[in-house]
Amino acid sequence: MGEGLTINQIAFEIRAVLPIIGAMADAPKTAARPLSPHLQVYRPQLTSMTSILHRVTGAALAVGTLMVVWMLLAAATGMGAWITFQNFAASPLGLLMLFGWTVALYYHLCNGIRHLLWDMGYLFAIKDAYRAGYIVLALTFVLTVLTWWIACPWSGG
């Protein structure tokens, strides 16, 4: 320890050098680091799950537009094509697809409104984001049940 160096000065020197040493030690590691937090290291939360579900339902609905294309093309083609479509829509597979379609659509619609509210600057507090997430899930359930209740032939709707 050289003469005239106080403890404070030594501490200052060490503090000045530490970041450089740190950067040197980190340099090889930083190249292999993931660029953003990824699914494997992320604990699922309501906010991340609703976000992923928004894209999944969006992609499913994009494929589901084929049902709309089929419905309209069949109607424009003629009675035979229309009956084929109607028979498929009323079959167990068709009903299952329609049911999945309504769930996906109501979810995407409600959560889409949540996204629009975020775009307008609302719901940024964690509590609000969670509350809106639960409201979206509840609304999806209620609207789906309501729709199929009305659609059910034996409900009298």
């Binding site: 994009a62 309209l72 109607a75 424009a76 009675m79 619609l109 629009l116 659609a151 032939p153």
Partner: protein, 134 residues
């Protein structure tokens, strides 16, 4: 293929060129269009569900008569435009975010745009045929 952030002689740094452009490499233009289409699709989709729910057991004539009504025909065409435009932009966003191979990404983007365009044309033609030609 030249990417937008690649330097082509400009004095701008690559960071300055890429800033604000995002995964689409062209800024917020499609972000805004996606939202406008979403707002348009919102009431139209609810109308579509409401209509389809009441179509249970409809005969062919009942359905075509319903679709031939000007209000229903116009609302159906508007629904198709809003929904397919929103779907095209939305799936575009997903591909831009998750597909990283430039060639495959380009292929997927082109294929999807063409698919949604063709599907929308098929729907609109069908509605017009029923409404106008009977």
């Amino acid at each position: 293929m030249k990417l937008k952030w690649e330097n082509d002689g400009s004095i701008k740094t690559p960071a300055a060129r890429a800033r604000g452009l995002g995964a689409a490499h062209e800024g917020v233009k499609n972000w805004w269009r996606l939202r406008v289409a979403a707002v348009a699709a919102l009431p139209l989709t609810l109308w579509l569900i409401w209509s389809v729910v009441h179509m249970q057991g409809w005969s062919y004539a009942e359905f075509t008569n319903w679709l031939a009504h000007p209000v229903n025909a116009v609302l159906m065409i508007l629904s198709v435009l809003a929904i397919f435009y929103h779907a095209a932009l939305g799936s575009r966003e997903i591909v831009e975010d998750y597909v990283h191979h430039e060639g495959f990404k380009l292929f997927k983007l082109i294929a999807m745009q063409l698919f949604f365009f063709a599907a929308a044309v098929a729907c609109i033609f069908s509605v017009l045929k029923i409404a106008v030609a009977g």
